[in-house]
Symmetry: C2
Subunit: 261 residues, 2 copies
Amino acid sequence: MSDTADLSSSLEDYLEVIFHLVAEKQVARVKDIAKLINVKNSSVTGALRSLAEKGLIHYAPYDVVTLTPKGKDTAADVVHRHSVLRDFFTHVLAVDAEEADKAACRMEHCISPVILERFVQFSSYINHCPRNSAQWVQGLGFRCRHELSAGSCEKCLAALGTEACPPFSHSEDTPMTTTSLHLLAPGQKAKITKIRAQGEMNKRLLEMGILPGSLIEMERVAPLGDPIQIKIKGYHLTLRKEEAGGIEVELVAPQAAASKP
Amino acid sequence: MSDTADLSSSLEDYLEVIFHLVAEKQVARVKDIAKLINVKNSSVTGALRSLAEKGLIHYAPYDVVTLTPKGKDTAADVVHRHSVLRDFFTHVLAVDAEEADKAACRMEHCISPVILERFVQFSSYINHCPRNSAQWVQGLGFRCRHELSAGSCEKCLAALGTEACPPFSHSEDTPMTTTSLHLLAPGQKAKITKIRAQGEMNKRLLEMGILPGSLIEMERVAPLGDPIQIKIKGYHLTLRKEEAGGIEVELVAPQAAASKP
DNA sequence: AAACAATGTAAGCCTCGCCTAACTTCCTGT
DNA sequence: ACAGGAAGTTAGGCGAGGCTTACATTGTTT
Ligand SMILES: [Mn+2]
Ligand SMILES: [Mn+2]
Ligand SMILES: [Mn+2]
Ligand SMILES: [Mn+2]
């Protein structure tokens, strides 16, 4: 039980996979882990031994794998780093989902706590401040999508040429107002665009009436961001942050909400 | 000469150090590299062999080290990744210089080209769009500095409680308008706050009258961002992007510039 | 109980990245 | 011109990591 030992990137990934499997099926099986990480079974056994040695998983030969409390914390931390980065990449940098996810899973292993914290605050600020930011991020997204593909976007550049900023009001593009449910500020309304949860959790969400297309309103967020309370189809629901994080939404009329006196 | 072989993090760091030494002293010496990376001389020799094998450096036993054209490109790429991340961390996330630099040097090795490109566009957008963004980033910086230290900033939270966004007009803090010289848009004015260049280059800049406190105006930027032309103390200067990147500046009255018709 | 799937063990392979110890080469002062 | 020290090289080794194959064990199903 070598304490406080820092995990290698590889072991963090194993832990992450186990976390997801446990969340979905209660327990993790060697062959499932092997399949997800794309290695042979025996490699998994080795990794499991390491993780057990460090007190992160419950593991006895031929038995299924579960996380210890310590392991659960550590795994949740990895997952957190992963999703903060992924969300920043998709929501702010307008990177496509797959690329964002792969990049996040590489960078999650070398991001420092301070920087991570700032990323979180960044997202939080964006999502709590529609008046200042919605238009701004939208403009950024517009710029990214265009300048990349065309090499340069005449309209943008023309606008930039003037001393003033581009208006970015030409809404022929999907505006960049998608985010994750748990990032909404109380009072904000949004439409669900995609459920990212898998298996078990996905089913539960559907049963609660949470499915793409539904309108939703954030009501309250507990001090630590978990749990959160939302309104959907007239009735109230409480979700865990983890669940809400997997729900992609698109802001509805943020300007209207912000222009109240 | 194993081609297209991807470099390990470690080798990228060696290359980066060599790049800086060459920039400063024309050539790199084993003992200097060893000192900077904090390893023994013999470890450096090993790394140099690898780099030479990959065609990135000119290296013969007992001779000094220089970069091949290919090596120069690769090194410049590493340095680019490093500085894009560092600048984002300091200028946008308001992370302190040392932490930002260390974090950047860890993450530079696992950032993908697409994401990097977006980070660049992000910075560029910020720096070309003072009307939309200056106030916004300023608010973010404010929020970061405070919420972190105090756990929560009453003023911010109070402001956030209202439906509107925090005004962030209480300017008791240094506003977040610092950036790097090469990121200025034509026409923007700024004051030099810090020179980050070392040795030789530092001297050259000083000789040109570029020193902390001077007022500067960006005049033109060549198509690829290099070179750039600035005005300082009434006369015109052309700088390489690399030089300009090491010059930290603080925007002067961006609002005034943006409020022209 | 036999067959079959899942899992575990042992052994080995390879890459890294660093070290020590002993050496060669280079440079510089006398 | 050459001694002596600084700088650099070489060889050898170590330990961690991460993966594989081949074979052994266990558990489950029929
Ligand atoms: Mn990962
Ligand atoms: Mn991940
Ligand atoms: Mn580095
Ligand atoms: Mn670096």
